[in-house]
């Protein structure tokens, strides 16, 4: 039987959606216990509650911040293997792209079937795990020094995004310098900006900057530069669709 963790209720639409998920889960006979996070009960406390009641499957329903909090709590707290089901409620998120469902029925049928696959989690010191991505967004271009495995990068950047399997996307935005391109953009009604992007992959990433810049997982600030990012291979057992291998 499954322990459901829901995001904090946001309005009547959110409440109705949560109730519908509970109803369908009851129909499929997989709902044993459910809780909503709140300022009084964090994701970590709810995972602890599930552990104390010997649940081996936790279904997380919510946005990236909640899902990453639950992921962190499972890896940090669970001594025995726990299966995690993800029902992402943010259709634009990376998690939704991986574990998106067309309907609540499809999502819960997948949860019931419980096909497990192992996934790698990213980790930011100290013990902040993530399944989606961690990101740094600067108000103004900032000089960073990034060490990835055997090489070192120096660059002025606006944004850094690190995925769970430690792909690093570095972005620098600027105004289009080419006269022709900027004229074309102006005529086409497009923004007159360009993005210079770099992509790397590593096993250990160290990021430092002149100023201390915050790093976010979902909407939560978890640390400030300098930071070290690692990966924990096959850290999670996640329920995936039968016909789709993410």
């Amino acid at each position: 039987m499954y322990y459901f963790i829901f995001d904090a209720i946001k309005g009547s639409k959110g409440r109705a959606e949560a109730e519908k998920i509970k109803d369908v889960a009851r129909e499929y006979s997989i709902l044993s216990a459910s809780s909503h996070i709140s300022p009084a009960r964090s994701a970590s406390e709810l995972v602890q509650d599930a552990m104390s009641k010997n649940f081996t499957t936790i279904i997380c329903v919510g946005e990236d911040t909640l899902i990453n909090d639950v992921v962190s709590a499972i890896i940090n707290l669970c001594e025995t293997p726990v299966a995690l089901g993800i029902i992402s409620t943010n259709p634009t998120s990376l998690l939704s792209e991986r574990w998106g469902f067309k309907s609540i029925e499809e999502a819960l049928e997948t949860m019931k079937y419980r096909k497990l696959e192992r996934f790698t989690a990213g980790m930011i010191d100290p013990n902040h795990f993530f399944l989606s991505s961690a990101r740094i967004e600067c108000r103004k271009p900032t000089r960073f020094v990034i060490e990835i495995d055997h090489f070192k990068i120096e660059a002025v950047l606006d944004r850094i995004e690190i995925s769970n399997n430690l792909y690093v996307l570095l972005e620098r935005f600027g105004k289009e310098r080419s006269f022709f391109k900027s004229t074309f953009n102006w005529l086409a009604g497009k923004e007159n900006t360009y993005a210079d992007r770099s992509v790397f992959k590593g096993k250990i990433i160290k990021i430092s900057s002149n100023e201390s810049i915050p790093i976010f997982i979902g909407n939560r600030e978890v640390a400030k530069t300098p930071i070290n990012v690692f990966r924990k291979i096959n850290a999670l057992n996640i329920i995936t669709k039968r016909d789709k291998i993410a």
């Binding site: 991986r98 996934f119 790698t120 055997h150 090489f151 070192k152 990068i153 120096e154 660059a155 002025v156 950047l157 995925s163 769970n164 399997n165 792909y167 570095l170 620098r172 210079d196 992007r197 770099s198 992509v199 790397f200 992959k201 993410a246």
Partner: protein
């Protein structure tokens, strides 16, 4: 980026990288790299790129500046805007008009094939010479036989 995806490495134009980059998939360089570049697939050094160090890949396309040994297991293309200062080692080489190449080119397979071809020609020439000698000897024997009859 999904788990298991083979996304290559991209070094943007605003990046200065020092150290060794190694990737099983493609590497595209727009910025500056000081160190070894190694890919199992393709390395593309764009117009804006500057690489100081050895470059090794299955296929290499150079439109920027490279100072170092370039080893392409299959094919090396040096575009008009490209510069290579260093030795190149490849199976197939294409240098466009306007490109700069300062160094020594080694094409091991072609060189060994060329050596075999040269040997074959030499042996054929030797055989022809041998045949000519044999004909001359036959002629001489005929002449000598005629003199004896007389």
């Amino acid at each position: 980026m999904k788990q298991g995806d083979q996304v290559g490495t991209i070094v943007g134009s605003s990046v200065h990288l020092t150290g060794a980059i190694k990737d099983a998939s493609d590497i595209n360089i727009f910025g500056s790299v000081e160190g070894e570049v190694n890919s199992d697939e393709r390395v593309v050094i764009e117009d804006t790129a500057r690489v100081k160090g050895p470059v090794t890949a299955r296929e290499i396309i150079v439109s920027g500046y490279v100072n170092g040994t370039v080893t392409a297991k299959e094919r090396l293309e040096l575009n008009a805007s490209g510069t290579i200062k260093g030795n190149i080692d490849t199976k197939e080489l294409l240098i466009h008009s306007g490109a700069t190449f300062i160094g020594k080119s080694i094409m091991p397979e072609k060189e060994s094939a060329g050596a075999i071809a040269d040997n074959e020609t030499f042996e054929a020439e030797v055989e022809e010479e041998k045949d000519e000698d044999a004909d001359e000897e036959d002629d001489n024997e005929d002449i000598l036989a005629g003199e004896d009859k007389k």
